[in-house]
Symmetry: D4
Subunit: 193 residues, 8 copies
């Protein structure tokens, strides 16, 4: 219907440029062989596969995530660090899309710690900085803290790949945010080189 | 059961294997040059970058997304199709993580259409099938429809890459779900080969 | 039952006066021919149309909205402006009733950006001023920011018709609110004369 | 930046066509004189008005609403009808955008009646039919009732202008839905010709 | 089972003492004849009435409410006052239990006004003071404003009977809280002696 | 402003008629002496009392409530009955306005029992019948159960005064709804004559 | 880092060490005889019991709770103390897991008091200190108050066993937080030695 | 104030009886030495400890929990089992209080799986049976599934100690509930004898 649609033009052009962003990369499709081999997309019937729209490479980008194994390893390391100091905390790992990947509610952690840990992780992943630093920024922009899902308390640290944030680790429940953040950093270090 | 710390072993092994799933692929890190070049991770100070944990390749996977350009193109195509038949609808595109990417509330679309479109898109992306097919599955498993965020009404179609779902397109507001789904499919086709 | 009901009296009087407000105007009913022609109110059966109460002109007012085409154009312009500066943002357009009309989650935009963009747009549409200005008003009335749905951070601008607000455009995700607001203004300008 | 942008082309073309839908009409801008005269858009400074984007006619449509006076008259008529039969009910009027315009919680109305009345009104406005009829449609499409905000119980009726829905009236609290709907219809009739 | 149960003792004693509070009074049961006469408790079958537990006078207290007629009168008076000054506002009346009794969304009132009006009314009814006064109390107790459902902005006034609060009226949408509160006070005065 | 306002006329007339409903009665104002004596409406300053609107008798009605002592007695009796049969349950008492008055989470009661008990109590208070009976009504009107806040499971019983509902008692956690309802009835009986 | 599957090692080791925390103790299993004797786990069929996984002692810890009898006693004492001073309040008891155990909405307590009481109790239980003390800590760490579920207003006190918090008691509705806290402390004292 | 208070009498009596229920046991206080030694209750000052009410043994019961180590082991085992069959799932462990203890969102698990897993675990822990069995019970009591937080889909299994439920494990994301439940059972078995 629309000849010479500039949106479509732009669309093609964009596909040839790495879109950057939160560690976005053109997906190497050759890597997908295994995916189609194990045929494990949940509940896909072949009929559905036929009717579903399959998109070409240039219409897609990829975002980088911690594997669940790496995220669990990080969370466990943070929890271990806290327990070694007899602190009772909850640990959460949130991805760059804001989804929680792992939670570990430590033995005896306070009831406020679960959602606090998730929000600290979210906040660190959103702005790619430790929440202790982010809390200081409120002096200039106090209303940042009104953004839903955030918590500007020390205890969250980002995890990065190529300097871009791919996840956040949040710890809550220790007597001070500085302690929480130390444990979170231990978790982050556990998956770093 | 697992001598020699299988978690650590598994961690390494997994990194060499495409983890499959929702179009997961090992990220080609060379593609990231542009990312670090434009340095645009929000609010990253060099100090933060230093303290942030940078993870090695084997700790990460990648998930495939429609670019915003492709998603907008799909949504616009669905809306155009509806308007050509004088139907007033809302269109939504949701990614495989369940996040809404694009919404277009058409002129005169009913108040129920916005959230309906999002939920249809979510449902199609979750099970990789048109919602008209999924509604039929309720005969066997009626409680599927109690899962939060879902809506088992015709009008949602998945978008796939290599047979795995990467997004869903949902349309709501036309007099029948069949019409809604026709428009959604038009949207999906617009980004397919 | 109630002879000489002053409410009814008032009712008639009001109908002859333009009610002003959010660009309210007496509807030119001649414009509705096309509407009834395409008969596309969803799911209306003729029986339903018969039983439904049809109101006379003087009982109605009209509120002005951006068309979905204009709203999409504005959102796309804001996103393009951000991408040209390598910023990853989400853009939202909200109408004067507080309903979201368009959202575009840009590639790589942070997880906090989606709801932030909607709230900035809502805030600008509610008070008919850029959110950077509104944030300054908090010095006098700090509790304004406790109103549900608002966010007093730069990045939202109103769209007006005849000096009254008809929509708001919100952008979130750039390193500063000033940048966000520049992109939002670019979007607003795209639909202005 | 984009010469020959088809979106812009379409944009202009659309402006000349009545967009139909929920009683959408091209706004007769001459009606706005009074609006700018009373200058009462909340909190607009002239500076803000300057920076705000003012859109041309072709970028806007108008949606029809009951005036608050008409909506109150309808709600009061429904409540009076219920009280005349010694029924204790809540009445709600919802506009076509899904926003509640008027609520009247009658003396002694049950605690379930308030939200029920709003949802019945919403449902009637969404599908332009009495909720008693809509409840019957569930036999064919049972999952319609999973759409958020709806309630498929008798007691809601639409209000229309030129056969398109512009509002819904919902009543809840009487011993039967049939009674509720009779009162709602009385309310709707009160604003009809 | 429990002879000499002090709770039961206390129970009887308390019944002879007016419990005070939010205009609590021993109910004059003779006033109930009309109630049982019209037999209109929704959906009560005689079987149900038999099995239901009927409590003696001393187990009950009564709380005072505005009639819906009085509440509507107050809300309408507030809205009229605003319209006379060309202000577009929403008015809400909330009872002492925190339930909304009446809402009137004025023509052209901003999207933030609806929930603001309800919260101002709630706040005034909770502390029995105008919200303009209550906002000043935050200097001493700033965290009062974190109580769910409250809004400490001018525009809410209490309605009292015998000096105890029985309702609150909230107005929102005018350019200043002082204006909002003037209209709310007009509404409150309309039902006062 | 409005001479001969029929609303005001109606207003006066209504005040002389018992408004019936959920045990509404004209308040015997003489009972309020104690109230004004203890002057304990929270945070009332004399200035506030002066500015607050005080309404005349004819503008008010009264609703009947269980005293907290009676409600606690009922809840305790229900819990005792359950414990005597070694059942672990939660008990809730909800007033006719839908507000929870008392909750007692029994030792070892399951996590689903708390909100279940509240909803059963709400449902019984709303329709003035045991929830076991109400569940049967769903055969005719299945969508009743979609009303927010309700739960159509045996275990809730109404408490009445003069045949009108003034509260509901809900019990949840026993192996069967019949058991739950037996305990709830024991609670209701404890405050009945 | 951890040769020889430290997770499994740790698992065993931990079981022999009291895990500390919120009054965690190795459970004396001999105490369970009565439990299995009365066989009252809700809805357990023997088949289910067979398939259910039964864990060994070393995989479990125990957390300490107030009995419902003790919690009710505390709440009643707090309410009695308030009533003796003619104050109308709501009382809540929350356990260390954040779950509400008891609520008593006093006669005439304001609508804001219910959720306030719960949040004060939650806050005291979370940080094991009276909320009056905790409110002072906000001077150093103001964003603590953004943690969901908390309220930093005087009126909450912790209940401890062996110096660890096991519950919180919250009171709200009196004219000052100091009064609320006095009543809460009376409640806490009622269950202390 | 109250001599011979039966509540207090009952209180003492109860303390000598194991309260049964969800694995409730009298706490062996000698196990607490370590707790007070490490003094790690968050943010407890000695002043606070002094003012806090310390309760005697007879006022407390204990509930049994999986240690975080055991819960993590179970969740990991369930995830491993799923990955071995190339299924992408989320695993959740919920305690008997309904709190989530561990979540592991597997690589590529669908967006619906996270909350589904939590709800399946909640449901299994609440009724102490596999959710596949519980789904069958809906034939008799269909409205059980309306209880908030539940999901009656196969994939949840209880974890018990002495035949009473102490946790639930939920798995979601595989093509069938039967598969989900197999993986969940593997997780439960991993912590059983």
């Amino acid at each position: 219907m629309k000849a010479m649609n500039p949106v479509q033009q732009k669309f093609s052009r964009r596909a040839r440029v790495a879109t950057g962003g939160a560690v976005l990369a053109a997906v190497a499709l050759s890597g997908f062989g295994a995916v189609s081999a194990n045929a494990s997309a949940p509940a896909t019937t072949s009929a559905a596969a036929t009717s579903a729209a399959a998109v070409p490479d240039q219409a897609t980008t990829a975002s980088t995530h911690l594997t669940i194994d790496a995220a669990t390893k990080a969370a466990q390391a943070a929890l271990d660090a806290a327990e070694k100091e007899n602190q009772r905390v909850t640990v959460a790992v949130v991805d760059r899309n804001g989804n929680t990947i792992v939670t570990l509610r430590g033995d005896g952690a306070g009831p406020q710690s679960y959602e606090s840990a998730e929000r600290k992780a979210f906040t660190a992943a959103a702005w790619n900085a430790p929440t202790s630093q982010l809390a200081e920024r409120l002096q200039q922009t106090p209303n940042l803290k009104d953004i839903p899902g955030t918590l500007f308390l020390a205890g969250g640290v980002p995890v990065t790949a190529e300097k871009a944030p791919i996840a956040g680790i949040g710890v809550a429940g220790a007597p001070s945010g500085a302690l929480d953040e130390k444990f979170a950093q231990t978790g982050a270090n556990a998956v770093a080189r």
